[in-house]
């Protein structure tokens, strides 16, 4: 598991950097964190699948690249 908590301040800062005029509800950044975790989860799963298909024991950059192309926020 993750030892650290969700970086709430950082998430809010990142959002402000992109959209300074946009506000965020009280617990909204937690759900953003959830979405982020699920995104990484999907990306990791896809990269892992790619690595298996290549009969590789480690995830190589090309696996991740291919995974990123596939995922694309379906």
């Amino acid at each position: 598991g993750m030892r650290r908590g969700a970086p709430r301040g950082t998430l809010r800062g990142v959002l402000r950097r992109h959209k300074p005029q946009l506000r965020l509800a009280a617990s909204g950044d937690l759900l953003i964190h959830l979405n982020f975790l699920m995104f990484l989860h999907r990306l990791a799963e896809e990269a892992r699948t790619n690595a298996f298909e290549n009969k590789s024991k480690t995830i190589k950059p090309e696996h991740t690249v291919a995974a990123a192309k596939v995922i694309k926020h379906f």
């Binding site: 650290r4 950082t10 959209k19 965020l24 509800a25 759900l31 979405n35 982020f36 950059p61 990123a68």
Partner: protein, 630 residues
């Protein structure tokens, strides 16, 4: 032979009662046995008619007509003894035939069941049969072949599946043993190579397109980049070296202050130009050149600033003169030069080196955009030429940066502003903050994703949009890796000269503003490693990070769209749930609460999921959320 035929007939008649009846022979049943022997000779007349009807008859004909080689026949007879009366007659027939025809054959003790004429299937030990047949092979070469053919035909008739293969294996190796399986790994490798080639082709096209632009720009740059060599330190960058010698001859005549100002101007412009050229160039080239130029610019600027500041430190008049002196050449300059003039405005006003550097960075970012907005830059330059208060210039710059929302190369800005940020730690001027705010705004509005910017650039270059994905895929590594080494290197050089300078500039509020709150890379690594459950290569993490940047950008866009669609300026939980629903994470079967419980730690669950407890209370209470806002 007659006796054999008679027996055969008798069995036949025994098998087929109809046939017997037709013939008028003895009825089926026990009488057959007696009847068989009774009218053997009578049957002979009807023999040919009956034979022609049935497949057995055909087979019999075949067997009869062929050279009689059936080493198994005697064995068949042996095995058939155990069978019932019906099955026995045909086997006996064949066996007797074999015996009569091939008396010299040694009866085999192996699987004779295959020779059975009956349709009933038994376990056929064909391998044994084959082995036995092979034994006979040297003895009866011709017979063995015949046997094989016979066996094959019989096998077919009997419906045995395995026999033909084994038979064929013995004599005829027709079928190839192994088929070459498709090498999946090689195939996928080939696919990837193809994709890489295509991406490289697009990258090459991009490069060629950009290099053409670069070629056109260098001429202007060379005119402006004069005298840099007087103060410039030995340069390692290639472009800088090219530009510096070009600059040398041009401004040798001008006065020193003008020279110095021009030098600072030129240096800024050089930096800008290099920034522009590098921006136009390939990604990798860009980042490397940029980092080089950054270092060089920083040193140069430091040197020039020392001169300039010494000259115009407290003298506004000098500044104005510098302005006027600079304004003339600036007017002659192209857009980039004009922008440089504005930068010089700021510097001559007596700002700290940090601000100047900031502005150089800003100008660089602006310059990066100028190729796309040349006309606008001219208008701005006119603004800047007139001696205006810095806030005005700041606003103009801000307006410029705002208008450049979609074009700026955030990567450059990022990498540029990062060292700048470090350098400007101690700047405390309002304009500094304003400028920084501007930069922040420009950064915020500019696309942070190099891929996107590159995508847009590629669009302008009449390239397909989907290619940006591939280009992005190949751009991230160099782009991500280079800014980091550039950053520390760039930070060191500005820091050292700054300390050498008198303190008043660097004193005051040392506000360490984090220009870009990006998610900690180690945190991303940790999460990704946990979800991957596999060892991950280090380079793969760079890609993951780039994906995260893209993700956050897209996320912010989506959330803004949803909130705006709802007529709100605040992103609410409902917006986030809508986002997750659209992504397919939340479905009718998978509600949001389940996902929250699955992924988030307990304390966050409590905050997100309202739970009802006794006493008409709900946790978390709505009133608490509201009070938090106050």
């Amino acid at each position: 032979m007659d006796g054999v035929r008679a027996r055969r007939e008798a069995r036949r008649s025994g098998r087929r009662s109809l046939g017997d009846r037709l013939r008028g022979g003895p009825g089926p049943g026990k009488d057959n046995a007696a009847a068989r022997r009774a009218p053997p000779r009578q049957r002979l007349a009807a023999f040919p008619d009956l034979d022609s009807d049935t497949p057995r008859a055909l087979l019999r004909r075949v067997i009869r007509n062929q050279p009689q080689v059936s080493p198994l026949a005697p064995q068949i007879a042996e095995h058939k003894e155990t069978e019932d009366a019906q099955s026995q007659p045909p086997s006996r027939r064949t066996s007797s035939m074999g015996e009569l025809q091939l008396p010299d054959l040694v009866p085999e003790g192996t699987s004779i069941a295959t020779f059975r004429m009956t349709r009933s299937r038994k376990k056929l030990s064909i391998s044994e049969f084959e082995r036995a047949a092979d034994k006979r092979l040297p003895q009866n070469q011709a017979h063995s072949t015949l046997d094989s053919t016979l066996a094959r035909s019989l096998h077919m008739s009997l419906g045995s599946v395995l026999a033909p293969d084994t038979v064929e294996k013995r004599g005829l190796f027709r079928r190839p043993k192994n088929r070459k399986a498709i090498d999946i790994a090689a195939f996928e490798g080939g696919v990837e190579q193809n994709m890489q080639r295509k991406a490289q082709n697009y990258l090459v096209d991009l490069q060629t397109a950009s290099m053409i632009e670069a070629a056109t720009l260098t001429s202007d740059a060379e005119i402006m980049l004069n005298n840099t060599e007087l103060f410039a330190q030995p340069q390692s960058g290639e472009q800088n070296q090219k530009e510096l010698p070009a600059l040398e001859p041009q401004l040798s005549e001008s006065e020193t202050p003008v020279q110095r100002s021009k030098i600072s101007n030129a240096m800024q412009e050089e930096g800008k130009l290099v920034g522009r050229v590098s921006s136009v160039g390939t990604e990798e080239g860009r980042t490397r050149r940029y980092s080089e130029e950054e270092l060089i610019n920083d040193r140069e600027h430091v040197d020039s600033m020392t001169h300039v500041s010494q000259k115009t430190s407290a003298n506004q008049g000098e500044d104005e003169q510098g302005h006027s002196q600079q304004s003339e050449p600036m007017e002659q300059l192209s857009d980039s030069e004009e922008v440089a003039g504005t930068m010089e405005h700021h510097t001559n006003a007596g700002y700290s080196e940090h601000l100047e550097k900031k502005l150089t960075k800003k100008a660089e970012s602006q310059i990066i955009v100028t190729p796309e907005e040349g006309g606008v830059a001219e208008g701005r330059v006119k603004h800047q030429d007139s001696p205006k208060a810095e806030p005005e210039m700041a606003t103009s710059v801000r307006a410029r940066s705002l208008s450049r929302h979609s074009h700026a190369f955030s990567s450059f800005e990022k990498s540029g502003t990062k060292p700048l940020k470090e350098a400007v730690e101690q700047a405390d001027e309002l304009e500094d903050r304003a400028a920084m705010g501007e930069l922040d705004g420009s950064e915020e509005e500019s696309t942070e994703d190099e891929a996107e910017t590159e995508g847009q650039e590629s669009k302008e270059g009449s390239m397909k949009t989907p290619m940006f994905v591939r280009a992005a895929a190949y751009s991230p590594l160099p782009l991500l890796s280079t800014p980091r080494p550039a950053k520390p290197a760039a930070q060191e050089s500005p820091l050292q000269p700054r300390r050498a300078k008198p303190v008043p500039k660097s004193s005051g509020t040392s506000r360490k503003k984090k220009r870009e709150p990006a998610l900690a890379s180690s945190y991303i690594k940790q999460i990704f490693r946990h979800y991957a459950k596999m060892p991950v290569a280090r380079d793969a993490y760079k890609i993951v990070e780039k994906c995260c940047e893209k993700y956050f950008k897209q996320l912010s866009d989506d959330l803004e769209a949803y909130a705006h669609h709802a007529g709100r300026k605040t992103v609410e939980i409902a917006d986030l749930e809508l986002l997750m629903r659209r992504q397919g994470l939340v479905t009718d079967k998978m509600p949001l609460h389940v996902l929250i419980e699955r992924y988030l730690p307990l304390e966050y669950r409590k905050l997100l999921i309202p739970v009802a407890v006794s006493g008409n209370k709900v946790i978390p209470s709505k009133s608490a959320c509201l009070s938090g806002r106050w």
